[in-house]
């Protein structure tokens, strides 16, 4: 067998958002780039089995809900009928469009794309198992962007097709009558939102004492209240002990506050987090340190312990978010090209595309308390926002935290329909070092949901007129 040897100035392992961004940036900076992707299409989990297809389903869910809720206000379409194969085809057409777009960008930039699974064989070679054999790539510098995979719980019956991970759930094969979501984090709740709209009876089980752990409780509450009514059950501080496969369904055994001993479900979605893929690439043969969990430690320039090998995205640590990976990918490519880049962002915003959406950035109130930081807080209720009321919704909130002494923005969060679209202004304000006054003096168009951010700042500066706050 002849082993082909290929040379790459920059080798990028993994074609997800972080990987292709790194490859494109490196190519734009004049590097000869080889990009390795194990699947036939680029875009990774995010584009193919994550962010994008889930947003398609969530949009469908939103339409179903809005139509349903508007019946009370005078528009009645009747009960919707669902054509699952058609919804699925529409969802797939979106990913396909984006896949093709990426393939075009690869060609335009003259990046060499190889489909296959890569394993390091030395600090400067990588063997790619392709359909036709093994290709060895000798690289000057490399960027590892191999991402993560859904955490599997070993004792669960993973060979049972009714036990899903997020990828299975997005395939939209069927709408189970009774769906249990194990894990009340962002991924689990987004899937719950979609399947609830499609007609499943949803139960959620979460180990911690709140859904979306890590987010401030006041921002979660409006979501929690709404889904508590919509869903069959939400069990907090509850653990799934075991799952048994039965012909009539999956029998799930619980342990915790208020949960039954066991209950039968037609499908169970396990969304208890993701594990980094650092252990799957023979990193040790390149001398790269990979920790127990599979994470690869990097410095601010995304450099691993091996100076000419970089790592980005999910495999270097939490939060496992595409926008973090993209930013890191560009940093790695720029450092390789000799620019003095480093990961210097002050915050990585988070968004849960639930209904209502929940989003936050910068310091959370929990963190401020833990770190003993003195802050001023303002929470503007969307019940006072004309725009929100026109959407038929009033549960939303916009919260900001500012440094007590200087008024400088420390953190912000929103909950409400389209909240995810509002957080960017807060991120920009944080990066620019804006204080409450800067935000309140910035004219926000009326009536928008975005102006609630300005209103919250006005609550801090004491200039708000849209609310009456007793002195």
């Amino acid at each position: 067998m002849n082993e082909a040897v290929l040379h790459a100035e920059v080798l990028v392992l993994g074609g997800g958002p972080g990987g292709y961004s790194a490859a494109f940036r490196a190519a734009d900076l004049g590097k000869q780039v080889v990009l390795i992707e194990r699947f036939p299409v680029l875009g990774g989990v995010c584009l193919n089995v994550g962010c994008i297809p889930s947003k398609a389903l969530l949009h469908a869910a939103q339409i179903i809900h809005e139509v349903d809720e508007f019946e009370a206000h005078g528009i009645n379409y009747g009960k919707p009928t669902l054509d699952l194969p058609k919804i699925k085809a529409w969802k797939e057409s979106i990913t396909k469009t984006l896949n093709e777009g990426l393939a075009g960008l690869v060609k335009q930039r003259k990046v060499t794309l190889i489909q296959g699974t890569g394993q390091f064989t030395s600090p400067d070679t990588l063997a790619v198992q392709t359909e036709t054999g093994v290709t060895t790539i000798r690289f000057d510098q490399a960027i590892i962007a191999v991402g993560s995979h859904p955490t599997k719980i070993p004792i669960f019956p993973h060979d049972d097709p009714r036990l899903w991970d997020s990828t299975d759930a997005l395939e939209l094969k069927e709408v189970p009558k009774k769906l249990l979501v194990v894990g009340g984090g962002i991924i689990g709740l987004e899937m719950a939102t979609a399947y609830h709209a499609l007609g499943s009876e949803i139960s959620v089980v979460e180990l911690m004492d709140q859904i979306i752990p890590g987010c401030d409780k006041d921002l979660i509450t409006p979501l929690f209240r709404r889904i508590k009514k919509q869903y069959k059950k939400i069990w907090l501080e509850t653990r799934v002990k075991s799952i048994e496969s039965h012909e009539e369904g999956l029998k799930v055994f619980f342990e915790g506050k208020g949960a039954p001993e066991s209950e039968m479900f037609d499908a169970v979605l396990v969304a208890v987090g993701r594990r980094p893929n650092g252990k799957l690439i023979s990193a040790e043969l390149a001398g790269i340190n990979v920790d127990e969990q599979g994470f690869i430690a990097v410095d601010k320039q995304q450099r691993t312990n091996v100076p000419h090998i970089f790592a980005i995205g999910d495999v270097v640590g939490n939060p496992m978010l595409a926008h973090k990976a993209v930013h890191e990918g560009k940093v790695a490519a720029e450092v390789i090209a000799g620019l003095k880049s480093e990961f210097d962002a002050l915050t990585i915003p988070s968004v849960a595309y639930t209904d209502p959406e929940v989003t936050w950035m910068g310091l959370t109130e929990n963190q401020a308390k833990q770190q003993g930081i003195e802050y001023d807080k303002a929470v503007f209720p969307w019940a006072a926002s004309g725009r929100s009321l026109c959407l038929g919704r009033k549960e939303g909130l916009t919260k900001i935290l500012c440094e007590k002494e200087t008024g400088r923005l420390l953190g912000a969060g929103m909950v409400g329909p389209n909240a995810g679209e509002l957080i960017s202004e807060a991120v920009l304000a944080l990066e620019m070092g804006a204080d409450a006054e800067d935000i309140s003096l910035t004219i926000h168009p009326h009536p928008t949901l975005a102006e609630t951010f300005g209103f919250a700042a006005e609550m801090i500066t004491g200039t708000i007129t849209d609310l009456y706050i007793k002195k």
């Binding site: 082993e3 043969l285 340190n289 990097v298 880049s341 204080d435």
Partner: protein
């Protein structure tokens, strides 16, 4: 069946750079096991690199003049799998040149370890969080190596740090750091002496400041060795005294220094590396075909080094006259730059003052300097008895990148011989 085998530079001990001297193969060549592929050379040894397999050379990755290191790819060889393939690391046949045989070890995967932050949710550095600067300004600061947190207030709205503030900060730092401190070396902190008593501040002369900068630069750049010895100048001194007795009043007297210059030039003629300079890139030696000797002269304003040109062609009387003139000009501050340029080797004589030995600093780009202190009458064992001999202490400092220890000692031995018996200068 054939496989592609990579032949790499084996572990040759802790050597960062190995020169490729000769490459004996090209693509398409058929090589046999143990056939020499290339000759490599380190600063300690040269070695032939044998092939670890038999087969056809597919590609050669090195050429003469390349610098390689352990693990560098030499060539790929297409070999058939049915032959026994020897270990991936070829055994190098080491031909010792100077150093002992380099020990052979299997090649471990060695990668430098750098400090990395722990895997965690990304938390930015609190210092940059404090700085009131936008991302583009932070990038700009980073490009210039400025810690934005050190810029206390900016000139923008609400003291926002702007690009101009970063530029101003850099200018300020540059202006403060311009005084003679070597780049990257921590400067000596300022000390307030007033609590300890009265002080007075004197401005250094320009010569002193420039000399200081030059000496610091040399001190940091040159690995210097100083070698001490003594020359028996009893006969020389007797000759010199008799010569000066013949001189008329007002004629320039001959000093011992003139003989030292002559003896030194004669030694330099036999050891060309002492009459040389290292090229700026440190890759080659520039040998000089002229013999200009610098003489360090102490003046009220500081140290200057007038140069006596073509000392090999001048007589002792001519040299004595020329040095007397130049020393006088130096003391009056009238030396021209041309009078101080073009030196090949410098003599720093403290002969008139005393001392036993000292370690002069090389006047780079020269490669050596000769220090001289006062000659002393000493009892010297001649094999049967102690005899009084006039001994002249000599201190030879040289740039060890150019001159090695044995060469320095041989040079000094010749210099001593020349001074002990100046008849040799005629040879």
């Amino acid at each position: 069946m054939t496989v592609l085998i990579e032949i790499k530079v084996p572990d040759v001990g802790n050597v960062a750079e190995i020169d490729v001297v000769e490459v004996l193969i090209q693509a398409g060549d058929i090589v046999t096991l143990e056939q020499t592929l290339a000759t490599l050379e380190t600063d300690k040894a040269s070695m032939d690199l044998p092939s670890s397999v038999s087969g056809t050379i597919q590609q050669v990755y090195i050429k003469p003049g390349d610098k390689v290191s352990e693990g560098s790819l030499i060539a790929t060889v297409l070999a058939s799998t049915d032959q026994a393939v020897s270990p991936a690391v070829p055994e190098a046949v080491v031909l010792p040149v100077v150093a002992p045989i380099v020990e052979q070890r299997p090649e471990p995967i060695q990668t430098p370890v750098i400090a990395v932050t722990e895997v965690a949710i990304i938390e930015s550095d609190p210092s940059s969080r404090k700085a009131h600067a936008s991302p583009s300004v932070r990038l700009f600061a980073r490009e210039l190596g400025v810690d934005v947190a050190k810029i206390k207030t900016g000139s923008g709205r609400k003291a926002r740090i702007l690009k101009e503030d970063v530029i101003k900060f850099v200018k300020k730092v540059m202006a403060a750091g311009v005084v003679a401190s070597g780049a990257g070396i921590p400067s000596i902190p300022a000390v307030d002496f007033t609590p300890y008593g009265e002080t007075e501040t004197l401005k250094l002369s320009k010569i002193k400041r420039l000399t200081g900068q030059n000496l610091s630069r040399v001190w940091l750049n040159l690995p210097m060795v100083t070698y001490h010895d003594e020359a028996d100048i009893t006969d020389l001194e007797a000759f010199r005294t008799s010569l000066n007795a013949e001189k008329l009043k007002g004629e320039v007297k001959i000093t011992g220094l003139m003989f030292i210059i002559k003896a030194l030039v004669a030694a330099m003629q036999q050891f060309p590396s002492f009459n040389a300079s290292l090229s700026a890139d440190g890759e080659s030696l520039i040998l000089k075909k002229y013999f200009n000797i610098g003489i360090a002269v102490d003046t009220p304003n500081g140290l200057v080094v007038p140069v006596l040109r073509n000392a090999n062609t001048k007589t002792i009387n001519e040299l004595a006259l020329e040095l007397a003139e130049k020393s006088e000009k130096a003391r009056l501050g009238k030396l021209l730059p041309a009078d101080m340029q073009g030196g090949c080797l410098t003599i720093s004589s403290l002969g008139g003052i005393g001392g036993m030995a000292f370690t002069p600093i090389v006047n780079a780009p020269e490669v050596a300097i000769l220090g001289v202190t006062r000659a002393k009458m000493q009892p010297v064992w001649n094999g049967t008895e102690f005899v009084p001999r006039l001994m002249l202490p000599l201190d030879l400092t040289y740039d060890h990148r150019v001159i090695d220890g044995a060469e320095g000692a041989k040079f000094m031995a010749l210099l001593k011989q020349n001074l002990s018996d100046i008849r040799r200068l005629l040879l």
